[in-house]
Symmetry: C2
Subunit: 632 residues, 2 copies
């Protein structure tokens, strides 16, 4: 499976994007209107089933899967949120920070190539806006003043999906209590109202990452009482990859379900790359600003300064980054706690800050200047993703003193951020055996005041290089059920190399599975409805519906074709594993129709009915599967 | 990723087997001697690390990965257990059941081809043996009479692996209680003794599947207090595949870690296929005899009779099948409970028996003749795998009345089997959302008297066709931690098609991950030792060791090569994701060495030390990664 089909790796960028823009089979985009804000057009993907039913699913792919939308990635996506931001009249256009030579890194491409890249990106330059003097433009600030923004209503509509499902789900759950799920302390209402979203944002239990300089996004919420979200990391690096690849990876990632994307570029042309990604991204974009700051000082951690870091925050806030990972919890006093660890500090940002602290024997400037950072965040509505710089890097370092000391600090910083109405989420591990996962969630809830938890995995074992997307999806599903709001994906290349687009898809699939498993277990209204629709299609031998309702219709159909390539097989009344004679579902259909017809009340009725059925069978010659009828 | 590399699908059988026989990188087979039974040679795989250390791991690959062993699959493997069985002097050779025309199925190959296949398999014919009149040759029978068989000591040595690890592990766990795991009710001793194995088998809490007609196996145990095991299904089918493929799939499956293999053949030449598989299998083989019985009656379920089924049990017991899946829990009275289900009965065996019950309006002959079946099982030491014919086929059918009614029946049948000293395990679901998994384990423990639980997955969601190995590995890891003894794998082709060898490997990898995650969480002595060794190698930049300690060294190395192909990179002091400047582990090594050297007691000491370190850095010019030195 480490084999790659050549055609997946070699096509030109435009071919790739064409692939990424194909609508999903039997699917079309539909847009739900707002009520408080009539102009809202909230996307869902409708899947048309062969039995005439229609299934609508949450959709992260943005305009890319809507054939009606013309897209030129050299001009960027339409600024969906611009009128909402204008209407609030609390921000202003301004000249912005002048571009510095170092913005694209100290070891940037040779001048000619960079010039060319910047020229290509010229159409993506936007004038920045920021809060008017004294204003605060965060969604949390509005929420706390009782304002339901368009972003909040958008999120509510998006989370609900189809009301019919919620109704059906609630009937099932009323009938069969076991199907209601076990929220483990989450309080998910039957219907997500705009007011509920406002309240969750106001109390800090959810965030809506939405920099006013990223008007292109379709708003989404990260919070324990909403659907579990996933993040995909992309980014160039000193070692490999190109800008084109990065933008296509973004589109590819959102196509398969990435709710957020982090640009972890550390190499060449990072400013220019970021323009391309932000202007073309329908989902919130996060970064780790310390990476770029380090580039600006030639990679020498101890040369980092607050001035350079601050300048980088402003640079990225003006570009429209929606959240910053800030490792302000790596305190001088905690560093020695990692000395006895098996794998020490495995967070890049954490190790950079640890090195700085050591080199200067001072508390980190991130911690010292935390309120200054808040002042910047609230001018653009950049959210905090408080980084877990001391997360464990292996099973035997999990839940140790260093990790939990930092977590407590992140809780303190959360309260400072909230004092400024800055939206905040908390990053979590990492590598954690199953029996230690619950403690992570419990400590986070206890010390971080229900701020959304955003975990990497966790990986439940260390011996699966090449398969860490699976080793970590196990932990991700569990901690998602327990209350984690967003799961940062892990690809098969984790610990080994840079993910290519196939790795990105594999990582996203593993994490869509984990997130959905968590939603079903928590009893998120309607989460199980898609499973039920697919299982019904499976039982009814509606093969095409079975493929189309899946997370990856292409792969499902390709696998089926490997065994039963003929079109006829797509209407076969037996499954490709068992062959005609062993199809349990086919046999079952008789049991079921029969039993239903008889409305079997008790064994006696069953017995009586069965005698009839017995003779029926004899007469019918016991034939119990339908012949394959070729498709017209 | 649904792409397949052609060379994986097309090579000749002998090429494939040659592949499967390659020793693992830096690995060699070692054999541990017995103490009670000095002649025992219990295999472990030793992995030689580049730092001179050696790691030994549990090995399921049999003689195939031992270059010293000559293997001719047309003659079969050496009969390892023959002397032990002889020594017990309670069984006898006999003529055995005459081969019947129908043994290879009603729709077998055209005569010529079948004749040829049988000729090729001729060297694999063995005369059967059975218990002498009145004798009982089950491991449970010996165990209950206080006899520690060679099989039991073999299992004990195999489970312990390396004592050094257990010691190291216990030190860790003593130091850091959190690392001891949480057994959730399992009672795993620090050291597995032969007497402990005997006691577990005697009380029915573990089984050692070991038909006296399958002397080729390397004995293994399935029980809650032993390492969690995995099963891989192979088998031809009416739709596709060949005998050669099946044998190679077996070898391939055991290479990657299948502890058991089930032959689910339902198509042509099933008797002959089974000869090939059994004679060449170092692991226990399970079957579902009703599949072959159904072939014998032309696929007409209602034509099945006890006589035909009984004859099939004897046929397969004589061949050496180690356990039979018997769906005796599908009772007439339960069938109507499935009428309201979304996907009815999804077990093939279950649906066949349901159909039979309906057609005859009688209790199933499996249930009616259960004690007669026990009489056969104990003559050969075939173990029961009591089938869950009414397992749920989708999330919304999970934990329903039909499922638990059958489970209670399986508990009753377990006690009947134990009355005959017949080893028994219980099959479990299926499709179960995370929040309903615990109840499955609790009900099984409650009603089945701690007989080993053997679950298929469970799949936690229904919407991942093409990725069900992942959707189910999540449930498998959780229920394995909770107490399931063996996990039946699911491949990416589940619900879609027949797995090819790549699918088999993917399924096994997902389940090795789930099983190991469960062992680590339960605190199985030494389980985490391999993780620690790999993580240490990761921290030390011993890339080759990192690959070789993984579950799949080939894939790990291939992925690393994709990003950093140069040999030099294999000794690079940075990881391929981050590049030189961002290598957290490299940075950490300084923090760590430094802190260790200082033996930092408190922050003051840290501070003092840090000043020194600060100036050191300045002098060193802050260089913090080693140049890449090419490999000689």
């Amino acid at each position: 499976m480490n084999a790659r089909a050549p055609e997946l790796s070699t096509p030109s960028f435009s071919d790739l994007l064409a692939q990424s823009r194909l609508p999903f089979p039997a699917s079309c985009k539909r847009y739900l209107p707002g009520q408080l804000h009539a102009e809202l057009r909230v996307p869902v993907r409708d899947i048309a089933l062969t039995n005439g039913e229609q299934v609508s699913v949450y959709d992260t792919s943005g305009p890319y899967t809507d054939p009606a939308v013309q897209i030129d990635i050299r001009r960027g996506l339409p600024a969906l949120r611009a009128p909402w931001i204008d209407a609030r009249a609390d921000s202003e256009w301004y000249v912005g920070r002048p571009r510095a030579a170092l913005d694209d890194g100290s070891q940037s491409e040779e001048a000619q190539r960079l010039k060319q890249l910047r020229a290509e990106a010229a159409g993506l330059q936007r004038q920045p806006r920021r809060a008017k003097s004294g204003a605060n433009v965060t969604q949390m600030h509005y929420a706390r003043r009782g304002i339901i923004t368009p972003e909040m209503e958008y999120v509510a509509l998006r989370e609900n999906g189809r009301r019919e499902w919620i109704a059906a789900y609630q009937q099932d759950s009323a009938r069969e209590g076991r199907l209601a799920g076990n929220p483990l302390g989450a309080s998910i209402p039957a219907l997500i109202t705009p007011e509920f979203v406002r309240d969750e944002v106001a109390r800090g239990r959810a965030i809506i990452p939405a920099n006013i300089n990223h008007p292109e996004i379709e708003p989404m919420a990260i919070g324990r009482n909403f659907k579990v979200k996933i993040n995909a990391n992309i980014g160039n690096s000193a070692v490999t990859s190109s800008i084109e690849e990065e933008v296509e990876k973004l589109v590819w990632a959102t196509r398969w379900g990435a709710d957020n994307v982090m640009d972890l570029s550390t190499g060449k042309n990072i400013h220019t790359t970021r323009d391309w990604i932000l202007r073309n991204s329908p989902v919130p974009i996060g970064t780790v600003p310390i990476y770029q700051a380090l580039e600006k000082v030639g990679g020498v951690a101890e040369d980092l300064t607050w001035a350079i870091f601050r300048d980088t925050l402003v640079e990225q806030a003006e570009q429209g980054v929606d959240y910053f990972t800030i490792h302000a919890g790596v305190r001088l006093a905690f560093i020695h706690l990692t000395a006895a660890r098996r794998t020490g500090i495995v967070s890049r940002g954490g190790s950079i800050m640890a090195k700085w602290c050591m080199a200067h024997h001072r508390e980190s400037f991130l911690h010292a200047h935390f309120e200054d950072i808040c002042d910047i965040m609230k001018q653009y509505d950049v959210s905090f993703s408080l980084g877990d710089g001391l997360r464990p890097g292996c099973a035997s370092d999990a839940n140790d003193e260093a990790q939990f000391a930092e977590l407590k600090t992140l809780g303190e910083l959360t309260q400072i951020a909230w004092k400024h109405d800055v939206q905040t989420m908390i990053e979590g591990p990492g590598h954690v055996p199953m029996h230690l996962i619950q403690a992570n969630m419990a400590e986070q809830l206890k010390h971080c005041h229900e701020a959304p938890f955003y975990t990497l995995g966790p990986l439940t074992i260390d011996i699966a290089p090449g398969y860490d997307h699976i080793a970590s999806a196990i932990g991700a599903a569990m901690i998602g059920w327990m209350g984690t709001a967003m799961l940062c994906y892990v690809t098969p290349k984790e610990h080994l190399g840079l993910p290519d687009r196939d790795d990105v898809k594999q990582g996203i699939m593993a994490y869509k599975i984990a997130a959905h498993a968590a939603d079903v277990a928590k009893g998120h209204p309607g989460a199980r409805a898609r499973d039920d629709a697919l299982s019904q299609a499976r039982f009814d031998f509606r093969w095409q519906d079975q493929f189309n309702l899946g997370l990856d219709p292409d792969t499902a159909q390709a696998y089926h074709d490997e065994t039963l390539p003929k079109d006829a097989a797509k209407v076969a009344h037996f499954c490709s594993m068992c062959g005609p004679k062993f199809c349990s579902m086919k046999i079952t259909q008789e049991v079921r129709e029969f039993a239903a017809r008889k409305g079997l009340a008790d064994e006696a009725a069953l017995a009586q009915g069965l005698e009839e059925k017995a003779s029926e069978f004899q007469q019918a010659g016991g034939q119990f599967y339908l012949p394959i009828t070729p498709v017209k």
